[in-house]
């Protein structure tokens, strides 16, 4: 195994135990044994706590799919979650993020919802650079509907509804997004909670649309890439000499390989990213958020020219 866990911020996490416990829930988790969702939920909770974001200051938005079945099983004390429609959560989350930038918005969706039902939302969220973190749960299949092929399913593997396997090439999520001139693209592995925590923390800190692909194990339906398949193939980019995460071309090159040496970590970040709201000329100099501004506006000036 060429891959070493980075050392996490144990002490800080211990200091913030009270806040961390609020992310726990009394609801029973319903994921399969060995599901990558456990790790992703854990890493997200830790990342939020380590970034000083309490349950009361985050809106967690979930698509439909196995990951979404955890929507009411997180942030049990003081938390706000939104469990939306299949393929559409990015847009709902974006609307929420624009309304109140003081509340961190995190959206999660699977590979089915994101790359079959709703790629348009992803494309334009990247272009628009809405201030939010998006986590792609890529388990390379439709788990909740019992193992059909997704746009990420590897070519030739028999799946429910595609007994002869899929003839089409899978989409490479990070490469796809990097082609859109994004401001933040990262990749992590669902079973490496510590590394994923760091990646998610970087995503939470990013000013703009942070896209994080999590390669997620699915022991029930994804036989092509089970957990052991990943471990010796992962290569964190921060361990690659001369890797420059501000270099889009280098990131696109790094994102390519999904078979032999899979690059993980923050593949690309524009540290000077300007988010959607900051780009709007009509909002220049306005310090309040849209949630603070709901009041009757005097239209007298606007109708002047129509008199």
């Amino acid at each position: 195994m060429s891959y070493q866990n980075p050392i996490p911020d144990y002490q800080l996490l211990a200091d913030r135990k009270q806040e961390y416990m609020k992310y726990e829930s009394s609801q029973k988790l319903t994921w399969c044994e060995g599901c990558g969702n456990f790790g992703i939920q854990k890493a997200l909770e830790r990342a939020l706590v380590l970034e000083g974001i309490t349950t009361n200051n985050v809106l967690m938005c979930f698509d439909i799919g196995c990951h979404g079945n955890g929507s009411d099983k997180i942030a049990g004390i003081g938390g706000y979650t939104l469990h939306g429609l299949h393929g559409r959560i990015i847009s709902a989350a974006a609307g929420a993020a624009l309304a109140n930038p003081r509340i961190k918005v995190v959206a999660e969706a699977g590979d089915g919802g994101t790359f079959s039902e709703g790629p348009g939302h992803l494309i334009h969220a990247v272009r628009s650079n809405y201030p939010m973190l998006f986590i792609l749960h890529n388990n390379e299949n439709y788990g909740l509907t019992t193992g059909q092929a997704s746009a990420m399913t590897r070519k030739g593997y028999p799946m429910n509804g595609s007994p002869d396997g899929v003839g089409a090439e899978p989409i490479n999520a990070c490469d796809f997004v990097l082609g859109l001139k994004p401001s933040f693209v990262a990749r992590a592995f669902s079973n490496d909670v510590s590394h994923m925590t760091d990646v998610l923390r970087a995503g939470l800190r990013h000013n703009g649309f942070a896209f994080v692909e999590v390669l997620q194990t699915c022991p029930t339906y994804n036989k092509a890439t089970p957990e052991p398949w990943y471990w010796d193939k992962l290569r964190p980019v921060d361990q690659i000499k001369g890797y420059d995460a501000s270099n889009l071309k280098m990131a696109r090159e790094a994102a390519q390989d999904m078979d032999k040496e899979i690059k993980v970590g923050v593949l690309y970040q524009d540290k000077n990213s300007v988010n959607f709201l900051e780009r709007l000329p009509g909002r220049k100099g306005i310090k309040t958020a849209l949630v603070d501004e709901v009041k009757a506006f005097d239209i007298a000036k606007l109708i002047g020219p129509y008199r």
Partner: protein
């Protein structure tokens, strides 16, 4: 009640709109009531279009079928519109040689129509304006026919083209040449100019929606362009530097609706507008808003369907679609605007209702309402206060529990608070859920939650205003309608009164949940009752008959993309009184 009807006809792109707008503005400035609309194909250049202006000394709420005056900018305008001109009317044009000119002259002579020709094309070319300024020459001529002063027209043109000084000079020369009307025998055509000027503005329905949204504190507008809703996006975007509103052209209608739900969920006010096809795409989101009890307002600007239909024409064909839209059973509110003022007011009411009842609201509009320019006074009447139904008092916020969010209450409305504003959080879950939003598939919990949500239907019905009677309590013939039917019905009441026919009209602003008390009373008092609807089936008639068992004597339905014209309704009343 005397009105004059002026039509500017030509191909799209020939400058008929600028002529139309200048004339409408001038007439309004002179103290006339003005009502104008344009008919145009779904093209940017080419294709026959026209702009019609009805004007007169008293309020004008609809368009007429026949015209008094036509400015024909193209050959089609000359040939096609002659038959729409009343006896004694005027048509100005610039075609010396037209293969049909003899026929047209004979036709005009028979009906005493003045066919006025001025070599507008050669005049425009000689003055350096080319084809684009033919409109100015003919405008000048028409202005002369109307018997109005040239100077105010010159001033209006100067204002309109102030940013193009070189062209302005030629524009003015062309207008003067037209007004001089060398060699043209000007018919005696006298229109008395009103002595006072009404304190009203001339706007279209979409501007009414935009201003209503601004007034109601909408802070985010999301839309995908679709006729006839598109100009709401234009208006709000152009106002955004003054309002600070986030105006986002989304990548599709699903996105627009989803972003609105996200923004509303987070606690601000958002708005979406579209037309039928776009609304179809939004319906899953409407259903979601019903489930998570999130306020959502989607303005549905109707045009004739099915499918792409007649994209630039009018219809009231989506009432039942709106009422029954989206899967599952949940409380939904449907309203319908009838003119720019009601667009302004109902947009505000829609946002209040959406927040008070935590439900999706669909204010209907229609091309005829969206784009007709009508004179209104928005400030008249009582201001509509913003009602949000949110928990905001610090003490109350501190005492909230997660289960308050979807608590089973008597009227089905539970407490709602802005995420982050209270120590207690909650889950907004599109899956069936318990009072705190946690998923459940238990039969008793699912049943109880469905009943809680559906209790809102009756609470809303009680809160909505009933339909309203216009005209006398009892009449020879009675109409019932919604949307743009109101304008034509009100004008028909006046026009019929002049003919000694008593007409009254029952109007629905609030359509769903349907209230029928006023209808029952109206029906009882007025047995000769007829539906006036711009659709094939008589959709409101079906709803009312189905709910009350009372029948209409007749249904006056129109589904050719055109609105009801005044003459048609008067004629129908005469026949069926």
């Amino acid at each position: 009640m005397s009105r004059t009807v002026l039509k500017v006809a030509g191909e799209s792109g020939m400058g008929l709109l600028s002529v139309g707008h200048i004339v409408a503005k001038m007439l309004r400035g002179m103290g006339f009531y003005v009502h104008s609309d344009r008919e145009y194909p779904s093209l940017i250049k080419g294709g026959s279009s026209n702009m019609q202006i009805d004007f007169g000394p008293s309020p004008i709420r609809c368009l007429s079928k026949e015209t008094d005056l036509v400015i024909a900018l193209d050959r089609e305008g000359l040939v096609e519109y002659l038959d729409t001109i009343k006896e004694g009317g005027v048509l100005v044009h610039g075609f010396e040689r037209h293969h049909l000119i003899k026929d047209l002259q004979e036709k005009a002579a028979k009906r005493h129509i003045h066919l006025l020709y001025l070599p507008a094309h050669s005049i425009a070319h000689e003055l350096g304006g080319g084809e684009l300024m033919v409109n100015m020459v003919l405008l000048g001529l028409m202005w002369r026919v109307l018997g109005f002063q040239l100077k105010p027209l010159e001033e209006a043109i100067t204002e309109q083209f102030a940013k193009k000084p070189k062209l302005l000079e030629i524009d003015l020369k062309c207008v003067r040449a037209g007004y001089e009307a060398k060699g043209v025998e000007i018919p005696a055509y006298k229109i008395p100019v009103p002595k006072s000027k009404p304190d009203q503005i001339l706007i279209d329905g979409n501007m009414g929606v935009a201003l209503g949204a601004i007034k109601a504190g909408v802070r985010a507008y999301y839309a995908y362009p679709m006729s006839p809703s598109s100009s709401i996006l234009t208006y709000l975007a152009n106002f955004s530097h003054e309002t600070g509103m986030v105006v986002k052209q989304a990548e599709d209608e699903i996105t627009a609706a989803q972003m609105a739900v996200g923004s509303m969920h987070m606690g601000t006010r958002a708005l979406v507008a579209t037309s039928g096809g776009g609304y179809d795409l939004m319906t899953e989101t409407v259903s979601m808003a019903g489930m998570i009890e999130c306020p959502l307002v989607v303005v549905l600007c109707q045009r004739p369907g099915p499918a792409t239909g007649l994209p630039t024409w009018t219809s009231q064909g989506d009432l039942q679609m709106a009422i029954h839209s989206a899967h599952g059973e949940f409380a939904k509110i449907v309203l319908a605007a009838s003119d720019p003022k009601s667009c302004y007011e109902l947009t505000q009411q829609a946002l209040n209702l959406a927040e008070r009842f935590q439900a999706p609201v669909v204010p209907l509009s229609e091309k005829q309402v969206c784009e007709s320019q009508v004179m209104v006074n928005l400030e008249e009447g009582e201001a509509i206060a913003i009602e949000r139904g949110l928990v905001t008092a610090p003490k109350e916020l501190a005492a909230l529990k997660s289960a308050d969010r979807f608590r089973h209450t008597e009227n089905g409305v539970s407490k709602r608070w802005i995420p982050g504003s209270a120590p207690a959080g909650y889950y907004a879950n599109s899956d069936e859920h318990r009072e705190d939003g946690v998923l459940t598939e238990a039969a008793d919990e699912a049943k109880a939650m469905m009943e809680k949500r559906m209790r809102k239907v009756e609470a809303i019905r009680e809160a909505l205003p009933d339909s309203v009677v216009f005209g006398p309590k009892k009449a020879d013939i009675s109409f019932v309608g919604w949307g743009s039917s109101k304008g034509v019905a009100l004008d028909a009441i006046e026009a019929c009164a002049e003919k000694g026919i008593k007409v009254n009209y029952l109007h629905f602003d609030y359509l769903w949940p349907l209230r029928d008390e006023a209808f029952r009373k109206f029906h009882k008092a007025n047995p000769n009752i007829h539906m006036l609807e711009n659709n094939f089936q008589g959709q409101l008639a079906e709803l009312l008959e189905g709910k009350t068992g009372l029948k209409f004597k007749g249904r006056f339905l129109k589904y050719d993309g055109r609105p009801f014209y005044l003459e048609e309704v008067v004629e129908y009343a005469e026949k069926n009184k």
